[in-house]
C-alpha cells in the first residue's frame, strides 16, 4: 500500500505530466513499472507478454492522461489497466491449461471428518525473515499450475490486493464465483506449501 508521501509525489508528477512534461511521466513510469510488470507476469506467466503489457499499459495511460481526474491514485489506475490487458491476453490465448479437477482439496469422509489429519502447522515459519529459495520455487510452480481463471482471481485478490468488486468489474464474473475460485486456489496452494514442509 502506498503511503501518503508517495501519493503526494505521484500527484505532483501527474500534474506536471498532464501539462506535457515527458520527464515527469517517465518518473511516474519508473515508480510504477515493477508493479505493472509484476501483475502482468503473475497473470500471464510469460515474460514476453508481461513486457508488452507494460508497454501497452503506460502508452494507454499516457494517451488518457488528460482524462485522469485523480480520484484514484495513479498507481491503482495503471495497475487496473495492466490487469485488464493481462486478462484480455489470457482470454485470447489458445493453450491447453490445467483442468479444475487437478486442483487439490482436503479430503473428508461421508460424515464430514478428516480422512487424514493435516500434517503440521507451518504458519509460524511463514513469518521467517528470509523466504526459503526452494519454497519460493515450489510456490511459483504451484501458482503456474493453477487453471487461468483460478490463478487470475488469486493474483488479483491475494497478491495485488484488489477488492472483490474490482475483480468482478475486470473479469465480469459474479462475486460468488470469484470467492469460490479464490478459496479453491488457496486450498491448492496451501497444499503445495504443506507438501514442501512435509518433505523437508
Amino acid at each position: 500500500m502506498a503511503d501518503q508521501a508517495d501519493l503526494d509525489a505521484d500527484r505532483e508528477l501527474l500534474t506536471q505530466a498532464q501539462t506535457g512534461d515527458l520527464s515527469a511521466f517517465e518518473a511516474l513510469v519508473e515508480r510504477h513499472r515493477d508493479k505493472v510488470y509484476g501483475v502482468a507476469l503473475r497473470m500471464t506467466r510469460s515474460e514476453a507478454d508481461a513486457a508488452e503489457i507494460a508497454q501497452e499499459t503506460f502508452l494507454s495511460a499516457f494517451q488518457h492522461l488528460s482524462e485522469f481526474r485523480g480520484e484514484a491514485a495513479f498507481g491503482s489506475w495503471v495497475h487496473r489497466i495492466a490487469a485488464n490487458h493481462a486478462l484480455m491476453r489470457l482470454r485470447h490465448r489458445n493453450v491447453v491449461e490445467a483442468a479444475e479437477e487437478e486442483l487439490t482439496e482436503p479430503e473428508f469422509n461421508e460424515r464430514g471428518n478428516w480422512i487424514e489429519y493435516p500434517s503440521n502447522d507451518w504458519s509460524r515459519r511463514a513469518d521467517e525473515k528470509a523466504l526459503d529459495t526452494e519454497l519460493g520455487t515450489a510456490i511459483r510452480l504451484a501458482t503456474n499450475r493453477l487453471p487461468d481463471r483460478y490463478r487470475e482471481v488469486f493474483v488479483l485478490k491475494d497478491i495485488e490486493g484488489l477488492s472483490y468488486e474490482q475483480i468482478s468489474e475486470i473479469t465480469g464474473d459474479s462475486i460468488a464465483a470469484i470467492k469460490s475460485r479464490l478459496h479453491r486456489a488457496r486450498l491448492d496452494l496451501r497444499n503445495a506449501i504443506d507438501e514442501f514442509y512435509g518433505e523437508k
Binding site: 506535457g20 513499472r33 510488470y37 502447522d121 504458519s123 519454497l135 501458482t143 491475494d158 486450498l187 496451501r190
Partner: protein, 77 residues
C-alpha cells in the same frame, strides 16, 4: 455444530468477516474443539502472505530500458 468439511468450506468467509454472528459462533465452537482444523486455518491464513513474498518480481533492467525507449518514441510531443 459444523463438521470439519463444513468448517473448511467456510474459512474464506470467516477470514473475510462476512459470516453472520451465529455462523461465526458455530464455526468457532468447532475450531475450539478440533486441533486439525485449527492447524488448517492457520496455514490457510498464512498461504497468501507466503505466496506474495514468493511471487515478488522486479522488471529486469534490460526491459526497463526497452520500455523507456518505447515510450520516448511513442509519446513524442
Amino acid at each position: 455444530m459444523f463438521t470439519c468439511k463444513e468448517s473448511i468450506d467456510l474459512l474464506l468467509d470467516y477470514l473475510d468477516g462476512t459470516m453472520s454472528d451465529e455462523q461465526a459462533r458455530h464455526l468457532e465452537e468447532h475450531l475450539t474443539a478440533c486441533p486439525p482444523c485449527i492447524d488448517f486455518l492457520r496455514t490457510y491464513r498464512a498461504t497468501p502472505g507466503l505466496c506474495r513474498r514468493a511471487l515478488q518480481k522486479q522488471m529486469p533492467e534490460e526491459l526497463s530500458q526497452r520500455l523507456k525507449e518505447f515510450l520516448r518514441q511513442k509519446c513524442k510531443p
